[in-house]
């Protein structure tokens, strides 16, 4: 049996968490909704659906400094920034299922076969408190992948009227349940929760009508369309701006650069987000291996629905729909996938 928390106690609960943890929650800055570090809990906004910016920047910031170097005493001295990277305990509140699933995908890329220590430090001590959506955004299609409640979370909130029903998904989550704020939920509360989730998912499903749950089957279907004319068509449409990559909660490509002072005697090595849609992305000294735009468009779609399935057994798309929302050419990933699995 789960627990529940009265809606008017949530703010108190977050204040209580903030005493021990760094708190992240949805806010709006300059008209853009995102998940940011909270100084004052009254800054938190109540959205009925996901934020415009995903969780990705919290764990994988657009710019990550690796180390500092200085040419000194005829040599080079290096100061590693990794030890300074904070491993403070954090709580991320108000996250939607698509974004929690996306973080699980990032975990595959950065903590599974290959390990990124900067990501690990930020990710390891982060507790996720997610929340069911009230209704979908225009571009949402999470139900194609299994729905809006992820498999793994620490706590999961669902609106059941005057209370949030709270599912406990982990030991770390359980430790946060303090009876100052939570009370035992009844069977009826649980039924309300289930009905609530079903009704929202039905709403999403009504327009989505795509079901990709059978990963093996659909990955094969999409894989077999490698030489399809759709890529030519999308290649003509796409403007190679890379917005879809940057907004995507699972895209994790980066470039490595040195930034120096004016005489080059000292500087920092940084990584910055990169995009597989950009012309130079696969360029080497010999040639550009994805010079044609259609090859780059196909690569990105395949790197969501085919390649990660081959390597990690998961799609790298969770149906958040952000890329469709920001695409200046109007390419809708959901529509593309529907065509590919026809």
């Amino acid at each position: 049996m789960g627990v529940k928390i009265a809606k008017n106690r949530v703010n108190e609960f977050l204040k209580y968490l903030k005493e021990e943890y760094i708190l992240y929650a949805p806010v709006e800055e300059n008209g853009v909704s995102k998940i940011s570090k909270i100084e004052d809990t009254s800054d938190i906004i109540n959205l009925p659906y996901r934020t415009q910016i995903s969780l990705k920047p919290i764990f994988f910031p657009p710019e990550q400094k690796f180390f500092r170097f200085e040419k000194k005493n005829g040599g080079v001295e290096i100061e590693d920034y990794l030890p300074q990277e904070g491993d403070d305990k954090s709580i991320i509140f108000g996250v939607r299922g698509c974004d929690v699933n996306a973080i699980e995908v990032l975990d595959k890329y950065m903590l599974d076969e290959f390990e990124d220590p900067y990501y690990r430090k930020r990710r390891e001590n982060a507790i996720i408190i997610g929340i069911s959506c009230d209704y979908p955004k225009e571009s949402c299609f999470c139900t194609a992948f299994g729905g809006m409640v992820p498999e793994r979370y620490d706590l999961w909130f669902t609106d059941i009227g005057p209370h949030f029903y709270v599912d406990i998904g982990s030991k770390r989550g359980e430790k946060l349940i303090d009876d100052k704020f939570f009370e035992e939920a009844s069977e009826e509360d649980e039924m309300r929760k289930i009905r609530r989730i079903n009704s929202v998912e039905t709403k999403i499903n009504r327009k989505v009508k795509t079901n990709l749950h059978d990963i093996k089957k659909y990955y094969h279907k999409i894989k077999n369309r490698a030489d399809d004319s759709i890529w030519e068509e999308l290649g003509r449409k796409c403007v190679s701006c890379g917005k879809c990559n940057f907004i995507c909660p699972t895209c994790h490509c980066f470039d490595v650069k040195d930034m120096t002072n004016i005489d080059g005697s000292a500087g920092e090595r940084i990584r910055v987000w990169d995009s597989c849609h950009l012309y130079d992305y696969a360029k080497t000294s010999a040639e550009n291996f994805r010079e044609e735009r259609k090859a780059r468009v196909r690569y990105r779609i395949y790197d969501k629905f085919v390649f990660p399935v081959m390597r990690y057994g998961v799609y790298a798309c969770t149906g958040c729909g952000r890329c469709s929302e920001v695409c200046p050419a109007g390419i809708d990933i959901h529509a593309v996938v529907r065509r590919l699995i026809k």
Binding site: V76, M110, D116, P117, F254, R269, K283, Y299, D303
Partner: protein, 271 residues
């Protein structure tokens, strides 16, 4: 926590001028490496570039570098004693052990000879482990041939077949692309082929060798991609869902042909 992005600082201890656009830098970095592996070379203030290891011993590694990009042009302007950074070694390397007791063909085009040089040196030092060995090497011009000072020694241990695209004064050897030499190789069956060169050279050499009956299951190609991290995360070297930095850079021709996103190096090899 171990930081794989942190380079070890090393010095340039020697510079060998190979051709007008290529130099070999001896770097004071005592790395244990497998032939065919690469390192990420840092020039502080300029960035990193993936470079194949072309030789080495307990004290140093050799990097044979053509000046084509920012990092490689910069190192060409550096001197003995200057500092660089090294991360690695990365990649799987050549499956040299597969050729032991069998015939070996080493096919190189241009700068592609650099990652094969450690194999050639291994063969010279362990000649008895192999049966017939042939080195096939093509360069644009005789003056652009790498390791010319080594060829005489190498030819004591193996058949060395050379060709150039454009002859220059004094060149008495073959003129033409690498494929024009293929039918001069004296061993076809039971041959392991290790190949590195420009994409177009690897493609047509693969086709020629297949036509001659070389076993395709034993042909290996080293792919060049722009590895930025070397550890399977940054995405730049991905091809058909594999990471050239971790799953490669050496792939068997059969595996490369099976990739969904067929690498240019093998496009059209079987169609």
């Amino acid at each position: 926590m171990n930081n794989p992005y942190l380079p070890a600082v090393a010095r340039i201890t020697d510079i060998i001028e190979e051709t007008p656009d290529t130099k070999t830098f001896v770097i004071s970095s005592p790395l244990k490496f497998k032939p065919g592996q690469f390192v990420e070379l840092s020039i502080f203030g300029y960035g990193e570039a993936p470079i194949s290891i072309s030789g080495g011993n307990e004290k140093s590694i050799d990097l044979t570098i053509r000046a084509v990009g920012n990092i490689t042009k910069k190192i060409h302007r550096m001197n003995v004693g200057d500092y660089v950074g090294i991360r690695g070694p990365f990649g799987n390397g050549w499956p040299v052990e597969r050729a032991e007791g069998r015939n070996l063909l080493i096919a190189a085009g241009g700068i592609g000879l650099a990652p094969l040089k450690p194999v050639i040196e291994y063969v010279c030092n362990n000649r008895k482990k192999f049966r017939n060995v042939t080195l096939l090497y093509g360069a644009r011009k005789p003056s652009l041939m790498l390791f010319k000072y080594k060829l005489e020694e190498w030819s004591k241990h193996m058949d060395v077949l050379l060709t150039v695209d454009e002859p220059e004064e004094g060149w008495k050897g073959n003129v033409g692309v690498v494929t024009t030499l293929c039918d001069r190789i004296k061993h076809v069956s039971d041959t392991v082929t290790l190949m590195c060169g420009p994409p177009i050279m690897m493609k047509y050499t693969s086709i020629s060798l297949m036509e001659l009956g070389f076993p395709t299951g034993e042909m290996y190609l080293s792919l060049e991609r722009n590895m930025k991290c070397g550890i399977g995360i940054c995405g730049h070297c991905a091809v058909g869902g594999l990471y050239v930095c971790r799953d490669g850079p050496v792939f068997s021709l059969n595996d490369a042909l099976k990739l969904i996103e067929k690498p240019h190096e093998v496009q059209g090899v079987i169609d």
